[in-house]
């Protein structure tokens, strides 16, 4: 099936990056404003799905040679490691720790362990969504 989707492809080349960047922004901003790992992950997978729509599965796996199932595993691992952190410090599991630091360039910001947990969530969401889409897409 040969289609003329030049416009879609050209737009995708730009739009995919914008969406990805926005996804990262939403992911990082999630602690104080609406957003977080779940939404960020969904947006990232939306960008990849857009790539899939514009090009075919082969091209996209060429660009992003990622085993999404391992991605789920790593996401779960990061999250549960954050959860288990309490074991090593003698506090209840999932205890949230944060610290205000002054970084060059970025200025006065706060670092949270919640971000690590959210990173895991982000990876799991991207992994799960892409696994589902690939499972359905491949069999066609």
């Amino acid at each position: 099936m040969k289609q003329n989707d030049l416009i879609l492809q050209t737009v995708t080349k730009v739009a995919a990056f914008v969406i990805l960047l926005f996804a990262v922004a939403i992911f990082l901003g999630g602690h104080y404003s609406p957003g977080g790992g779940f939404v960020g992950g969904l947006m990232t997978s939306a960008a990849i799905v857009l790539l899939l729509l514009a090009f075919d599965i082969k091209t996209v796996t060429g660009i992003l040679p990622i085993d999404y199932k391992l991605m789920i595993g790593s996401g779960l691992f990061i999250s549960s490691l954050t959860v288990a952190g309490g074991l090593f410090f003698g506090v209840p599991l999932m205890t949230h720790v944060y610290q205000y630091v002054d970084l060059p360039l970025l200025g006065h910001i706060s670092l949270h362990t919640a971000v690590l947990f959210d990173l895991g969530v982000y990876l799991v969401v991207v992994g799960v969504t892409m696994t589902i889409i690939q499972t359905i897409g491949e069999s066609e």
Partner: protein, 493 residues
């Protein structure tokens, strides 16, 4: 604060994650799962001992204290059930090595197995109503995957039904949680219990109690809500079936245990009588199914429904004896149902059919299988000194004390019928003349027999040694009969 409380959940989580990375290396996966299951048993055993010595353990997750954060609570009932779960998980895992097939092993069978254990252990340990819902969902998601893994036609069809029924009941769960939250304004079980006892359970709470009965009844397969069970449990391969039969329905029953002794115990004339009627009807329906079928799997599946009825009847009587009877019986039933499913699996493997009319004379070639099945069968029926006896006796004593003679009669008659249904398997399957030459390599059958024998031995020890287990059961019943103990331990007042 004690992080040990959450270890039975965290440990399988890490195992499951690790297994995802070794999905293609089957030998390694088996090794890791087996090792982790052994450690799991040790952890939960340690938990039981600690709870026995120190009383109820709690953990305010994320340093948020009850009632504001989620609390994980290990009282005696939860920790005993967690221990049983881990033992059964170990036995079924061992059995899976020889029967589940490489295809399934390569498609994430072992990781999902661990995730199922997370859900079950978590549901037993949580002290928060919404968190219970979350662990239910973890368990259900894992069970969906296990049910559909392999993708045969019957599995696909039954999974669809099973999932739709469970999605419905999950929505119902959320709805009931919403109603309860709007009435009492909290989700911590201990806090709910306290607030309900302050207002002495008005009508609206009783309505919500029945709503929760519907939710948990759908998972636990009580009378009008059990129709999905015989079909869905029939579809998957034997190890998965054993896992479901031994664990999943029991999580539903545990939740009824918890809610009906901790929160909704003020209007027993209404809620507990309702529960008693449903329990009796459940037993009757189960008995009819168990004696009607000639299919070995179906017979054992209907026996699950009978056991659900017996345990629920014990809860509905709600006095000290009946509750300790129910606890003994739920542990006995988990062990013995798993063993029976595994044994039935071996029978099907040998004879190549699940219809009793095609079997016969297996005892000649496989005496060990036959006698293990015999012991399991009479334990199930509750013949002394085996494990089913003490539980049933205590439930009956409790019922007699309360004057619930109808229920007593039904349970006694059901015991006879249970005995008939399993003896039917024994006589038609093992006795008589062999219908064919069951030439299977004996070594494999012996290997498959090991976990079943293990479970039967544990259940026999449990039956013979009921006296020495009894202090633990009394401790569990104490916190069920006196919710103040539980509330005090959780809310630390």
């Amino acid at each position: 604060m004690n992080n040990l409380t959450f270890m039975p959940v965290l440990w399988p989580l890490f195992t499951g994650i690790l297994l995802i990375f070794f999905a293609k290396k089957i030998k390694l996966q088996r090794g890791i799962s087996l090792f982790s299951s052994l450690i799991g048993i040790v952890i939960s055993f340690y938990l039981v001992i600690t709870v026995h010595n120190q009383g109820i353990l709690t953990l305010g997750v994320g340093s948020w204290d009850a009632p504001f954060g989620i609390v994980i609570v290990a009282d005696m009932l939860s920790s005993l059930l967690v221990l049983t779960t881990n033992i059964i998980g170990f036995a079924i895992l061992l059995y899976s090595f020889y029967s589940i097939g490489e295809e399934r092993e390569r498609h994430y069978y072992y990781p999902v197995f661990q995730f199922l254990l997370i859900g079950v252990n978590g549901a037993f340990l949580t002290g928060d109503l919404f968190n219970l819902f979350v662990f239910f969902e973890v368990m259900l998601m894992a069970s969906y995957v296990l049910l559909v893994l392999g993708g045969t036609k019957i599995q696909l069809r039954e999974s669809l039904k099973y999932i739709i029924v469970n999605v419905l009941s999950s929505s119902f769960f959320v709805i009931m949680v919403a109603y309860l939250y709007s009435v009492v304004g909290t989700l911590n079980m201990a806090d709910i219990s306290q607030r309900i006892s302050e207002v002495n359970q008005p009508g609206i709470i009783s309505v919500i109690a029945i709503g929760f009965l519907i939710v948990f009844g759908l998972k636990g397969a009580i009378f009008p809500l059990f129709q999905w069970l015989p079909g869905s449990y029939y579809a998957p391969p034997i190890p998965v079936m054993a896992l479901f039969g031994a664990l999943l329905t029991k999580v539903g029953i545990y939740s009824i245990f918890r809610t009906y002794t901790l929160m909704f115990y003020h209007d027993q004339d209404f809620t507990h009588t309702f529960l008693a009627i449903l329990a009796i009807l459940t037993i009757i329906i189960g008995v009819i199914g168990a004696i009607a079928y000639w299919d070995v799997k179906k017979i054992i599946i209907y026996n699950i429904i009978i056991a659900v009825g017996v345990i629920l009847f014990g809860i509905s009587v709600m006095n000290e004896q009946a509750l300790s009877g129910s606890i003994l019986y739920i542990i006995h039933d988990m062990l013995i149902k798993a063993a029976l499913f595994l044994l039935v699996g071996i029978m099907i493997k040998i004879s190549g059919s699940d219809d009793l009319r095609d079997m016969g004379g297996l005892i000649k070639q496989y005496p060990a299988v036959a006698w293990t099945f015999f012991i399991a069968a009479i334990s199930l029926a509750g013949i002394p000194p085996f494990s089913g006896f003490a539980g049933k006796l205590l439930i009956l004593q409790g019922a007699a004390e309360k004057g619930a003679y109808l229920g007593m009669a039904v349970i006694l008659i059901s015991s006879l019928m249970v005995l008939y249904s399993v003896m039917k398997i024994f006589m038609n399957g093992f006795w008589g003349t062999p219908k064919a030459d069951y030439a299977l390599t004996n070594g494999k059958v012996n290997k498959m027999l090991v976990p079943a024998v293990l479970l039967v031995i544990i259940s026999v020890l449990f039956g013979v040694g009921t006296e020495s287990v009894y202090p633990y059961i009394t401790q569990a019943v104490d916190s069920l009969m006196n919710p103040e103990i539980y509330n005090k331990a959780v809310l630390k007042e």
